[in-house]
Symmetry: C2
């Protein structure tokens, strides 16, 4: 079995300078699993929703090729709900409403036939919930953990414990600074790589993503788009694309992990073009191949260093 | 003759969280010309200093291979002086003192034997001063203009007139937004490329540089450094490296201009490592070649798009 994902499945309501989404399908787990399915990777989503979660949304996930046998439907509860508003720069946002609902007492259960995955993707959740999933699987080749500043503020010790056990940590630039106490991202990376993970991804939103391993650094730009319509889920899409590409190729060399970073950035560049999962759900492999070509044109150059010596 | 540069030669006094520089050699023209000399490009610096400008500084420029016959020494005047303080993030700064001094009534004169350059680099100065230099040279193959928000606020019409005449405009992200009235950098670029220049460079400091031409985009990251010690002059070093590489190679294809962007970013990555010109003055061609290799490792990947179709 290829990829086990644990992550939220939610209702989002998003306000941007371009419009309002109304109540739509969201959640880290949703974006991660959709990205994986787009790459044709067999995957299961471990999550929880409430009674109010419509069958058509479940059908949509199944239709996309996601195994939903890990999604618990909690009786007498509602689905996790988040409402947020983006500022004009589309980089910063205010949370207007967070209702944990069913996610509150979430006790994830990895289905019995999925306990031996190639890759385990721990989406942003309480570190203890992430840890409990880690304990239910047998030696995955790679464990990727996404987290955020909220857990650094509220569950520091638990977070450090689970970070210690994973191969890849994915956080944004401010979180890397908070976690390490270093302002320079290069120094932050050095400090974080001593906390357990062998690989560190620092997500910088519209400024791309940095990838660190030992003394190696790789950087992927974000594709400059005419309009970033809704950044919600971009980081999760990125993480999902990254994890799934590695589950698919089973090549954990730094060179191939660079490719996984590019896949993640390419998929994230679709997510931001429309509200929620709308764009990602309609992307074809041809669209993705086209976009990867754009990343290559954007960042490759043919400068011959020997001319300088 | 290869490269004519017009730009300030100054005294800078810089305060950063790491220390204070005291009064040191600075100025856009100084950084641009030093970058060009490092590439072995024959170049003249058109500028003005006061009586207080020490002979040892002039000797230093000559020793580096810069033709200083275009630097006027103005009697009874002092040299342009700028004092600034960087904040902890090293991205924002406050100007504490600006004394224009000799630069106030600057009337640049391009030496007679330099009126037919391959490339003309117009460093950040009043647009009318830039325009007067443009009028003194005969059809350079490329004209690069660097400017800043100060001139957008104080000399808008003059700036638009000179921008119209140049091939390459180099500004930072906020300036691109101000000049175009567009927030999205992609849209801003589209608007600015209609104002005259065929090429646009958007400098994003620690987030790298974007390069636009028609529908083409190229991006160079900034090298992630353990410590940015002093960003002063990084943008000028970048512009100097860019212009000089093209003056040297005489190849104005988009592919080769990508290389010029990388050269600019690589040279700028040295400038920020010490105060003022200290680091740049000691860089060898071998150092530069080494750094270009780092840029290649940082941004190249071998993902095979055909695998997805």
């Amino acid at each position: 079995m290829s990829l086990v994902t644990v992550g939220s499945v939610a209702f989002d309501e998003i306000i941007t300078p371009f419009g309002e989404s109304g109540k739509i399908l969201g959640g880290a787990g949703t974006f991660i699993s959709l990205a994986a399915s787009l790459l044709g990777v067999e995957n299961v989503l471990v999550s929880v929703v409430g009674e109010d979660f419509p069958q058509k949304n479940l059908d949509f996930l199944v239709e996309k090729g996601i195994d939903i046998s890990g999604i618990e439907i909690k009786e007498g509860e509602k689905t996790f709900f988040w409402k947020g508003q983006y500022h004009n720069d589309m980089n910063s946002r205010d949370t207007l409403i967070t209702e944990l609902n069913a996610l509150g007492g979430f006790q994830p259960k990895v289905p019995a036939n999925w306990r031996n995955p190639e890759v385990l993707m721990l989406g942003n959740l309480h570190p203890l919930v992430q840890d409990s999933v880690l304990n239910q699987v047998e030696k995955p080749r790679l464990v990727v953990l996404d987290t955020m500043n909220f857990w650094m503020d509220s569950a520091w010790d638990d977070l450090l414990k689970v970070i210690k056990k994973v191969s890849v940590l994915a956080i944004n630039d401010e979180e890397a600074r908070q976690l390490s106490g270093e302002y320079s991202l290069r120094k932050a990376a050095k400090a974080i790589l001593k906390m357990g993970p062998q690989f560190l991804i620092i997500k910088k939103g519209e400024h791309g993503a940095l990838f660190f391993h030992e003394d190696e650094i790789f950087f992927s730009p974000a594709l400059p788009l005419e309009e970033v319509f809704d950044p919600t889920g971009a980081g999760d899409t990125f993480a999902g694309g990254f994890a799934a590409y590695l589950a698919k190729t089973k090549d954990y060399s730094f060179e191939n992990m660079k490719n996984a970073i590019i896949i993640g950035c390419a998929l994230a560049s679709f997510t931001v073009e429309k509200f929620g999962v709308e764009k990602l759900a309609s992307v074809t492999k041809e669209n993705l191949a086209e976009r990867i070509k754009k990343f290559k044109k954007l960042s490759h150059f043919n400068l011959n260093v020997e001319n300088f010596i």
